[in-house]
Symmetry: C2
Subunit: 147 residues, 2 copies
Amino acid sequence: MKVKELATAAGVNPDTVRFYTREGLLQPTRNPDNNYQQYDAEDLRRLRFARKARQLGFSLPEIRQILARADDHHSPCPMVRDVFQQRLVVVEREIAELQQLRKRMISALAAWQEMPDGTPDGHTICRLIEHWDDPSAESCCEEPKHE
Amino acid sequence: MKVKELATAAGVNPDTVRFYTREGLLQPTRNPDNNYQQYDAEDLRRLRFARKARQLGFSLPEIRQILARADDHHSPCPMVRDVFQQRLVVVEREIAELQQLRKRMISALAAWQEMPDGTPDGHTICRLIEHWDDPSAESCCEEPKHE
DNA sequence: TTTGACCTGTGAGTTGGTCACAGGTTTTAC
DNA sequence: GTAAAACCTGTGACCAACTCACAGGTCAAA
């Protein structure tokens, strides 16, 4: 298979295939006649796996590691499960943060839905943002640097 | 105020102050003696505004626009409200997507919590990812390009 | 045979910062 | 008085995960 064929089969951009190849996630052979990359069914499986893992929140280095271990006939699965569980925590935190944000946005919108557009005091909204005290900022600001 | 003083007052990294200055969000004057940037209380207000707007999901170009309009004594607020409402839609979509993701992750974890680590069939997890059919993929894959 | 669609590698752009570097200035300490 | 530390300056690289652009080579169909 050539780049575009693989890309089409996996439903991704051909540039993504090239990118993953550059990144070492795919290791195609070469057609010596024309120097084209040659992908096989195994590459398609790897690519599909990579895409699904991406959707589940794995990073490319993680995916590369998983694939490399699988190539070595090690079972990558305990490691996968670890990363997976860590990801779940992150995802749940992200959900909570976004829900906080949503609540704040809705209350801000409500607060300023009451006044028409051309209100002489049109700057109210900006003041609303300006003086809006972030309830998620525990005691102070986030620490500027953390190791 | 010098860079670090402003940064400290706003609780941000000094490099962020320099970055925002480069980006035109802050317009300090110069101390002709030493060529240092000089920020005033107004810059602190702008910076605080910018940080809060960032937390609410505004992009830097949007913030720059809002500040520029405010400088021109136009009320930026109707525009702000528009952007704000659009952001709310995006945030809600992101929440829904993350919740979908979370559900899938939890069911995947549940499916493989049943088997111990050293299972001979340790590749199950990877197959689980591999053969996991994305329920959020409506009929096909996401469109590769959209204007 | 020519046109168009594909292939190649490399390099830049995206976002919102953060960090590194090299050199100038100011403050603090002895 | 002077030396070191802490600050300032601008510029440019780096992060993730692609995406796009470019210039030149290859190949299939009309």
